[in-house]
Symmetry: D2
Subunit: 130 residues, 4 copies
């Protein structure tokens, strides 16, 4: 199984007055993690967009928050590929601080062209993650 | 049923290079909408925090993206209360541009004190939304 | 003098663990205010981009922070046009809560085409703001 | 002179529909850079807040944008201390992609307690950066 763990540190910007990381930031961290997963598999997402005219449009996102992340925490965002369909692809995520699971989530996407028409998952992606 | 529709306009900041609103912003709009739902029911969330020492901590968030929101779009964020438990409360959201549904989502929360200990849903909230 | 005041409410997302609005958000509010100033003068910025292929690229931004904005504050963002040059245009901003000035700022821009080549300030803008 | 260079990668979230990093993000990157500068000098900003009850409140921010940063760019944020006064401290920043300067900026701050009363710059900071 292809998997990738991205490390990042919680920014002051990402905290809120509750003193924890605001909940929408987890979706941003998921984006960073799946970008690095793709890069780790040899495919920069930026190249998919510019060279192949393919966009990974999100159709669903989910996050379960177990424990709050705090300012300056060093987090591990663990990312794996879920399902790959004809035009769709999903990712799973676990956000950890050391051995503690802070959150778990998933995002589901379809490949499209710039006009938002669904396109087949490119073979280089299928190869990389089969 | 208590419901509230919040209007907001997509900010340039909220777009990404795909030319659409980035997916984490929907969770921010959900926050704006549930704040206004609470205010519409007579309870500013800011007062819950400062006067009652109660925090509405998120435990799950979900969003299904149907159609992209674009820069300068005027959106309606329709918000209703889902379930109210002993310490928990959930909200449902529909994001519309005119009559077109762009996204649907939900968030689930628990009331806690500042130390993140679960607290009963305050009676003023139960009264307001029963 | 063309001027415009935009009202907005500080979002929970915009707070940080200091309990105040994080400093980069003021630049976002400036964007909202200059968009509304342009709209008030009859020109949606979105149309400048799509119909005229003109982009208002920022070259400088400045903000002086006097007093913190807090969660749920209702703010007035007062915006005026500063200088208009051949290809450049600047805006001034005052952020107020009631009669209290919270911050003052300015942004300076050049009009460009999509390839970032400077373009003359369009006559419709010159007319609107002379 | 104490200096520190922080590396970061432009997130998709940080782009806008112009295809470049949105201008307020530079202030967030400045925050990341000054946090790492302080850490490099032996002082986690998080400890200043929690152990010493000191807050580094911003009073001014400025950024000059030379060239746009783009998605997935690897940036160097070079940070130095400007002036240190009785209660104030400023930082200078240069944002580079390889050898190309993309932006230059500064932020000016005062040390305060949690009630926003100015406090003397702590001696550990004066020592570290003299």
């Amino acid at each position: 199984m292809i998997e990738h763990t991205t490390n990042l540190r919680v920014r002051y910007k990402e905290t809120d007055q509750m003193g924890v990381a605001y909940y929408s930031n987890y979706l941003v961290w998921f984006e960073v993690a799946r970008t690095e997963l793709l890069r780790g598999a040899g495919h920069a997402y930026s190249e998919l967009e510019t060279s192949q005219g393919l966009w990974l449009m999100v159709v669903e996102a989910n996050c379960k928050y177990r424990m709050p992340a705090k300012y300056d925490d060093l987090l591990d965002i663990y990312c794996t590929v879920g399902n790959i369909g004809n035009t769709s692809m999903s990712f799973n995520y676990i956000v950890k601080r050391g051995s503690v699971i802070l959150a778990e989530g998933m995002t589901s996407h379809v490949f499209t062209d710039k006009s938002a028409r669904p396109k087949r998952v490119p073979s280089i992606i299928k190869e990389a993650f089969k």
